[in-house]
Symmetry: C2
Subunit: 324 residues, 2 copies
């Protein structure tokens, strides 16, 4: 597309649904100039297959296949295989649709054949017609675990299996210390004109990405050379639009507000976007090392996604490397 | 069931559809006293999953799930995953239904967890409500290959991929020399009061089972102690009821008739069942080391399956170990 040739190169860091929506808006604005770096800490093995909830939510959303009503999976999905798996006595709490299962089957077979995770993901994205590039944060396994009163739980056991009910007392990203950034991630961050941190859960969606040394280093390098890093608060009016981020912030001792999120991303981001309902926090956030932008951040439809994406890019402007 | 307590212990050797039908009839007659030993030479890896066409055809048939119209797969099957796999660029010539795929997924996951093939198969059979016991002939991999003008082909490439069109010039069972009979097979044959060789393709369905030393030895031992081994011809009026057995017999230099099948099973079976349309072969078959029985062998419905099964058991009677 002609307009995209001059579109800025954008990298977005994203987790699941909220991240997918903003990534979708960014893809609408900059097309194939967008690279989305997705959290893989939520990944899990089901029935011997590698399931990547955040990667696939972003992929289905960017491919126009996402089920908007559920917030996960594929529009028009069926569950014939899942019913048979249940009949065979397989664990049923993580229910996979037939089309979704096909993605996990193809991915797992290709990984077993010796291909790397990034290469496999890119092949599947292309086959589904995704315009942007979605990169797993690492080809190495990183697994998010949360400590609750029931002890340490794998993330999906907490998130899906226990409906996010237990209070989260501690979070760890197993494997993150040793994990290298996926092959193209550091290069994409280095080449980006704007970096966007999507309104995903700051602790368990953005947290694992930032826990990879190579990515944190690439972000610091980009920031030091003036690349704007625009974060959008996923907490609006004190509540997470989706998921347990608000309760998780509180149980981990953070403030469950846009200000709480801003504090977590201070030092990483340069710019912070909050909703109009949170305008009262603007001065407190500005007192951190962040520029504040106030707008409507709730992405109710495709137009709202594209508008917020365009605003994030407009807010972003090269920042002096000198302190303000 | 009260009547089954006194039913004879029966072992059936079977391949795909024809074998499944007679096994279904035998299950109707002797219930859980039936053990079916199935060919695994047709097994293949698809998308990283172990697919067992003959085992699953017998299993779905005995579970009452088989699609009778197609002759393979599950009644009411859907193909949502297969369509997605095609979209992802996976090979499409061996199309797997959603429910069938669930079986392959569960089986492969359980095998990868370290369980043996027989144990995994029995667990799935029980979950689906199969009354009889279906044993893979071996837990070790055996793969049937056929030589054609296109060279050596894996069996399913010939059978499904090339629609059985190339003439088969030679057949081999890779791995058969080293394969042990599956754990319970020899014991089941030793304990059987009657052994039935189903009207499956004698070369590529029954042939691989007989190529396992342990099974051939167990059959010879059973025969030597007077256990009747009743084979049913899968060639009726010179034609295979299903599949390429007739053309395969001819291209391999055998007679494509009930007599041709009898010659292949002479020395293994004690009794041979032919259709009324093949009564003309009775004296030639009787001249071999086989007792001949003539009846209707085409199993058009459940009653016909049970009737033929009951007749096979009635034909069988302990045979003197002395030569006639």
């Amino acid at each position: 597309m002609a307009e995209e040739a001059s579109a800025p190169r954008v990298v977005a860091l994203a987790g699941g649904v909220g991240g997918a929506k903003l990534a979708h808006g960014l893809q609408a604005v900059v097309g194939d100039r967008l690279t989305v770096v997705v959290n893989t800490g939520d990944d899990l093995e089901r029935h011997g297959l590698l399931v990547m909830p955040d990667h696939d939510t972003v992929m289905y959303t960017l491919a126009g296949l996402a089920n908007r009503e559920w917030g996960w999976g594929i529009e028009g999905e069926t569950f014939a295989a899942a019913e048979m798996l249940a009949r065979l006595g397989e664990p049923t709490w993580f229910r996979l649709g037939d089309r979704d299962l096909a993605v996990h089957i193809a991915r797992t077979a290709r990984l077993r054949s010796g291909l790397g995770l990034t290469e496999v993901c890119l092949g599947i994205q292309r086959a589904l017609g995704v315009t942007a590039t979605i990169l797993p944060m690492s080809d190495d396994p990183v697994r998010t675990e949360v400590r609750t009163d029931d002890g340490w739980l794998e993330f999906q056991d907490y998130f899906v299996g226990r409906h996010q009910e237990p209070a989260v007392l501690e979070v760890r990203f197993r494997g993150a210390e040793l994990a290298a950034a996926a092959p193209a991630v550091e290069g994409a961050i280095g080449a980006a004109e704007t970096i966007v941190i999507a309104p995903s859960n700051p602790i368990v969606s953005i947290g694992p990405i930032l826990a990879i040394d190579g990515i944190r280093g690439a972000l610091a390098a980009a920031r030091s050379t003036g690349t704007p890093i625009v974060a959008v608060s996923g907490i609006v009016g004190g509540k997470a639009l989706k998921g347990p981020a608000d309760r998780m912030l509180a149980s981990l001792g953070h403030e469950s507000s846009a200000l709480g999120v801003a504090r977590l991303l201070d030092g990483v981001a340069t710019d912070f976007v909050i909703d109009r309902v949170d305008a009262k926090y603007a001065s407190s956030i500005a007192a951190l090392d962040l520029r504040v932008h106030v707008t409507d951040t709730v992405m109710t439809d495709d137009d709202a996604r594209a508008r917020l994406a365009a605003e994030c890019l407009a807010f972003a402007s090269p920042r002096s490397t000198a302190s303000p």
